[in-house]
Symmetry: C2
Subunit: 384 residues, 2 copies
């Protein structure tokens, strides 16, 4: 008995999961591991969120919600865009989803036919490719470099677009590079895609974690694109699995129909957590955490460069540094394994992010405390 669907040949597992499992095993044996591999903030669920969830559960508010989410949560998300981004948004365009993962599944479900292609940057978030493969589409991964801030340019999009292309996906800030796409460039991409009758999908999962200035949401560019966001990163609600999608108004009925069938709805307790995460008292806490992330970046970036890692772009957001490690190795996967085994430092090999020189790159996540980052840097410095 084997999987028989062809799509499974194109879907890769996360290599970092093997490393994480090995790290947990070493920890169980008593080894001290510095975790710089995990894309999950180390902060606990904010107290006002916990209070609100307890109230909701105790009052029995745990039944199915509408497939597009609690109306009050959709309104609160729209209100957040107004206050945070100055964008007036009809709450009817907001669809609450089980994580940003659910949002990606819905968007690709309504825009992608089997055999059609989606353009995306390489390196990039691995799930994006795999969602496309799940729906039997093809990914056209475009190699990007530090010269363009690891982001697609309008010229590259035009160059790689053909009649089989359905959509282009952009992530800003990017995972694994933490870099933003300039709004002017994104506008050109939007205009080009609109002329082709294609779809622009913008991943703003790390939009709340930008340290240099404020990132502009792609929603300022028009109402004919999809924006995906998450309560997992800035809002810190990883295991709760809740995210959202802003969609062109005319597509919402189809997204609703898909959500009814694929999920029924996002988990109800998690929707109450998300609602509390958008309240002013929680946002004060989250902004303090963003400042802590900024301080970690400002420590780790020069520290890694100092050791000899090449990080040509200073990332403006997310909580990742994408480092060239070819000074130390020609095989970053083997190198990551060695660092874990020899000095107990866990990092993610480039292999998880695509085929654009993955063997020369590692991703460092600063999702652990300053003290632990310093410990990791000391171990690397002593070893290398």
């Amino acid at each position: 008995m084997r999987s028989r669907a062809g799509r499974m040949r194109d879907i890769q597992p996360f290599r970092v999961m093997e490393l994480l499992a090995r790290a947990r095993k070493l920890e169980a044996q008593g080894r001290d591991i510095v975790h710089m591999e995990i894309g999950e903030p180390d902060f606990p669920t904010p107290a006002p969120v916990i209070d609100a969830v307890f109230r909701a559960i105790a009052s029995g508010d745990v039944h199915y919600t509408p497939a597009t989410g609690l109306p009050v949560l959709r309104e609160a998300i729209a209100g957040y865009y107004l206050r945070h981004d100055g964008v007036a948004l009809d709450p009817a365009r907001v669809v609450v989803t089980p994580g940003a993962s659910g949002a990606l599944l819905l968007v690709l479900g309504v825009v992608l036919d089997p055999g059609e292609a989606v353009l995306m940057a390489d390196p990039g978030y691995p799930c994006n490719r795999n969602f496309v493969h799940f729906l039997d589409g093809r990914t056209r991964a475009i190699p990007v470099t530090a010269d363009t801030g690891y982001q697609l340019t309008a010229q590259q999009v035009a160059q790689h677009w053909d009649e089989t292309t359905a959509a282009v996906m952009v992530a800003s800030p990017s995972n694994p590079t933490g870099t933003l796409i300039p709004t002017g460039e994104l506008r050109q991409i939007r205009d080009f895609v609109a002329r082709q009758g294609g779809t622009l999908i913008v991943d703003e999962i790390y939009h709340g974690l930008v340290y240099d200035g404020q990132a502009e949401t792609a929603l300022t560019l028009g109402d004919d694109l999809f924006v995906i966001n998450s309560f997992s990163k800035y809002f810190g609600l990883t295991g709760w699995r809740v995210g959202w999608l802003v969609a062109p108004a005319a597509v919402v009925p189809d997204l609703d129909k898909l959500a009814q069938n694929l999920f029924l709805a996002a988990p109800t307790p998690s929707q109450h957590a998300a609602l509390a995460a958008l309240q002013p008292d929680t946002l004060v806490i989250l902004d303090q955490r963003r400042e802590a992330f900024r301080q970690r970046r400002d420590y780790l970036l020069p520290a890694l460069r100092d050791i000899g890692f090449d990080i040509p772009m200073s990332p403006q957001g997310a909580f990742y540094l994408y480092a060239n490690c070819e000074r130390f190795t020609a095989d970053s996967f083997q190198f990551a394994t060695t660092l874990l085994e020899e000095i107990g430092v866990a990092v993610t090999p480039g292999l998880d992010f695509g085929n654009n020189q993955p063997e020369k790159h590692l991703r460092f996540a600063y999702t652990t405390s300053r003290e632990r980052l310093e410990e990791g840097v000391q171990r690397l410095k002593a070893y290398l």
Copy 2:
């Protein structure tokens, strides 16, 4: 801006959602509505489950779990099969999912290629068809009648199977009919499907809610089939969105890979709720609720027959009665609308369950109290 993917043409919305929205509107206007349309138990989350969730959240246990679920939950599910069904099951074959919906998506993801067909009974649960359409497969809905307990027979499966068929789905107890498939018949289906190199998928979402004797799980038939279950129905955790899947051992690595990409994992607080739902103190409460459902069935079934609805099969499980209403109407959708508007009784029209004489059928859910069921029956009796 419109949806452009072809699959959206084949995916139907739930018609009952329109009715539910209309019912809510009438309630907001002060009308009293008897809800017999909703497939959601009316009982609150059991107290021991709430306690366990509060403890987990308060202790910070809200981070991502492994994609296949908390190991302790997979073990507890395997333990439940041993105690409840006498089936010894390797916990490694259990995959925890975001609702049974997530389980369906994973299973079809590994077994179905675009253009291939899945056999299923008509009437049947509407999402099953739509999951197949989501992956660009085709559904071959086989009309079933009370003569076979609204279940597929091995003969029908053999008759409708061809070289494009990938799988057959069976639900026992069935939604909307509440009927079981005889184990002997299911064994013949399993044997036939195995000879064809196809896949048997058994929906046991209502397995915990069987009132006449005990249903046998399909896991007794072999380890080469997929069984889907849910914490929403017997366990009553609807809005929490957690379910599970038992799979052939060799397929689990691919299911893990898909789950990593499509969900990351089921919501963590919900997994803790599920774990508590499997403990002896909760099961005592759940068994009392099952007895309450049985009493409701034993009241509603003769009461509806008495009014003039034709319910040829006495359903053994779930919380639905599938009633022929042709004595009253030639259009059950219009009839359901009229019942809601005229007497405030909400039921689900047959249209949601397929194309097999839907206009002659209604589904009554006994997910509300005995008193409310009596109120609904009184209104129907007075009106009809």
